[in-house]
Structures are given as C-alpha cells and as structure tokens.
Amino acid sequence: MLNIFEVAETNKMIEEENLDVRTITLGISLLDCIDSDLEVLCKKIDKKIYEAAKDLVETGEEIAREFGIPIVNKRIAVTPIALVGGAACKTGEDFVQIARTLDEVAIKVGVNFIGGYSALVSKGMTAADELLIRSIPQAMAVTERVCSSVNLGSTRTGINMDAVKLMGETILQTARLTKEKDSLGCAKLVVFCNAPDDNPFMAGAFHGVTEADKVINVGVSGPGVVKRALEKVRGENFEVLCETIKKTAFKVTRVGQLVAKEASIRLQVPFGIVDLSLAPTPAIGDSVADILCEMGLEYAGAPGTTAALALLNDQVKKGGVMASSYVGGLSGAFIPVSEDQGMINAVTAGALTLEKLEAMTCVCSVGLDMIAIPGDTKASTISGIIADELAIGMINQKTTAVRIIPVIGKTVGEMVEFGGLLGYAPIMPVNSFSCEAFIERGGRIPAPIHSFKN
C-alpha cells in the first residue's frame, strides 16, 4: 500500500516544483470535410471540430481536479489545411476564411490553440500548398488562436529550397502584419524538417494523414522536478546524475500516461502517444536552462552546454520510454529562449548566442525556438538560418524546427514581450554576412545518402 512519503513526494512535485501535464491535444481528421464549396467546407469543419471537442476542456478540468495535477492546456490539432482546402480554395483569402473558421470554433470550445494551418512540402509544393503558405501572414494577423506550421524537408526527401526561400519571406511578412503586437504572429508559426504527425505541442501540432479519425496525444513537462532532484546529487559523478534524471523522467511520464489514458476513456477517443518532453515556461523554477546550470554550468551556453543537453535529453527518453506504452511526438528537451527564464538570463548575460543554440539543437528536440531577432533582418538571412537548421535534421534523421521572430521596429539589446506562456525575450544578434546568392539558386537539396536504405 502507498505510504505517506510517496504521497508527499508527488504532491511536493506538483505544488513546489511545477509538475504539470502541459497539454492534452485532441487530433481531429478533417479529410472527410473536404468539399469544393468553401462555405460548405467551413460549415463541415466547424461542425466536426465542435462535436469532437465540445467536452475536451471540461473533461481536462475534471481529470485535473480528481488527480490533483494541473493540466495547463487543452488544444486541438487538425489535418494540414492545405490538404483539406485544396479543392475549395482558389485564392489566399479563401484559405484565410478557413483560418477564421478554425479560430471561431477554437474560441467556442474554449481551447487556447488550434494547430494545423499547415502544408507539407518537403519535396514540392502543390498550387494549394503555395496558396496556403502565401496566406499565412494574413491568417496569423486576423486570428488569435490558430497556429501554423510548414514541413520543408525530411531525411527521405531532402530539403525543398524553393519553399525555404518562400518561408523566409513569409515569416518576415507575418512579422510586419503583426508589428503592433511585437510581431506576435511569428510566435504561432514554425517550420520543420521531419515533422512528426502526432506532436501535441504548439505551434507545430497538426493531425497527420497517417492518424486515425480522432486521437488523444499528451505532452508532459517537469523541468522543475528534474532540477530539484539534481539539487540533491550536487558534486556526484555522471552515473549518479544520469540515474537521477532517468528516475525522475519515469515518474513524470507515468503521470502523463495516466492522464492520457483517462482522457481517452472519458472522451471515447483512442489514445495516441505521450510526448516525453521537458517543456519550460517563463515561471521561476520551470526552466531547462536551470537544469543545465544545476549540472555545473555557470550559464546555458557556456562550454559543456551541448554535452549537458545531450545527456539530459537521452536520460529523459530512457526514463520516459518505459513509463509509457506509446511514445511519440517530439520527445526530448525543449530549448525555447523566450519561454525559459534561465535561457533569457543566459542571453542577457552574453553567454548564449544563436550559433550555440544551433549546436544545441543537434542533440535535443526541437530547434531554434522562440528567438527574437532584429526586425530589419533580410528574408534571405532568415531562409539561410532555416536551411542550416533543417540540414541538421535531415542529416541526423531527427526533427528540427525554426520558430524565429523578426521583431519589426526593434533591434539588438531591446526586449520584446509576448505575454503568458510565450514569455519575453532579448533581441539576439544575427550574423550579418549575406547568403542571398545561395538562397536564390532555387530547387531542392537532394535526399542524403543514408536515406537510401531499401
């Protein structure tokens, strides 16, 4: 039978160390809504999402109450809209109409984000894909809760450099259209290499075409819990360090698995995966960078950071995999800058640069995340940053992503405030040398040699 110390340990994790379930994300396929009439399509989308998700928020809150664990976000991911809207949308404005429908139904069911305003163009773009991508700036400007993602490359296909070029321009245009809100639109827009079909985390969640009609995916968190556990093993060797992370990750993930199963039963939707992630928030004591410091670094970004992050990421997976029957999504440590107080401190202190962040993304999920850069950065430079990051993903057979925010009207040294879970960030300098001629070439980077496994 349970003892008082075990019960106290769990409750201490929840009350003092910010243990929570970061998100329950309901994936909904919209393939059966496809229609050549835009009005009919939007009505079908609204009806399908509303019926599937009307009880999502209430159920999440009920589970949180009964188990005594906060479930921070309830969200929806839908089939990439470029696929759903292809038959009905003749212009970018038509796609924006779908974005509005998604936004309205998200507000109606009470979820804080809906993901899937997406296109999968890792090898080539259809006319619909291109229309959707070109409509992203407008869609991000007129909606509040819609998140957008574009998959630009994969290990199997290589990198679509035409789309990379287009996304550099799209990100900049999104920043311009939302400049009154510190270019907030870009915080809801991410590009990927090897995007997973079952990621529950925003902004990159979408419901992949290989998924069932509906599915429940859960993202766990708990950087604060890992940090506290490591405080108890200061000065011990790497074996002890790794064992401690592994055990803690196991406990954290078990809670996610429990919540996922319970939500699946109550909503009568199949359970998909648990995403084993250390996802920070701007709250004090909920930081991945603080874990790196606890391991012995003065700041995240100091020499040793990549090694520390690599071992953290690996141990989180080793502990988490046994705790859940199905693991998926992004699974690993997240290193967003604006959403992590320790990362913000490191940038402010001058310890962490864009180049070091890029190195860190080689060994963790996901990529360059929530990084504010000067608003006068050229589109080709943004495309260059994206291409570098995607190349890491392509060659290393992992997911990588870029969520970068060129803040219009601001420059290095200034702060930008996004609010809520998105946090705030100092604007980071970008290498000012040009890559324009490289990006201008067009076409695609071929699939890497190790993708030919057949």
Binding site: V7, E62, F67, E262
Partner: protein, 90 residues
C-alpha cells in the same frame, strides 16, 4: 473499489483528525488506512479511503474537505489513488 487519498498538511492543532473523520463518517466514507507524522511542527497526515458507499460526487467531497480545511487552518487535498500508484509502482 476506487480508493481516494486524502492529505492534510498544516500547523498542528487540536481536533484535526477528529474534524476530518467526523466528516467522513457523516458521508459514509470508509477509512482504510491512516498515517500521520509531525515534521518541524507541521502536521502531515495521509488517509486512504473508500468512497464506494458515499452518495456524494468526488467533486463535492473534495470541495467540502477543502472548506473544512480552511475552517481548521490546514490544507486538505483529495486525489484519486491512481496518480500515486502510477508514479511509485511499476
């Protein structure tokens, strides 16, 4: 049988256990196990209870106990046993 864990944490004072037990008895909630310690002057108690015969919903019981806690100056939490089992038992 769905077991529920009740935890009580707060400054030690007369009548904490009595208060909680009276409420449980009145609402037909059976106590299966109690353990209690005092850590640095703070009262720490855990009860494992069975709510099968109670006619109150989980939510009501949790809210009632929370209010009772406020009255006697302690924090009372009511959680389903599963969260602790999944974390501490393989």
């Amino acid at each position: 049988m769905k077991k529920t864990i009740i935890t009580v944490v707060g400054k030690d004072t007369v009548g904490i256990i009595a208060g909680v037990c009276t409420y449980l008895a009145e609402n037909n909630i059976n106590i299966l196990d109690i353990s209690q310690t005092i850590v640095q002057g703070y009262f720490n108690m855990m009860m494992i209870v069975d709510r099968t015969d109670s006619n109150k919903q989980f939510r009501e019981t949790a809210e009632d106990l929370e209010k009772l806690g406020e009255k006697i100056g302690v924090i009372i939490k009511c959680q389903r046993e599963d969260i602790f089992n999944s974390m501490h038992r393989i």
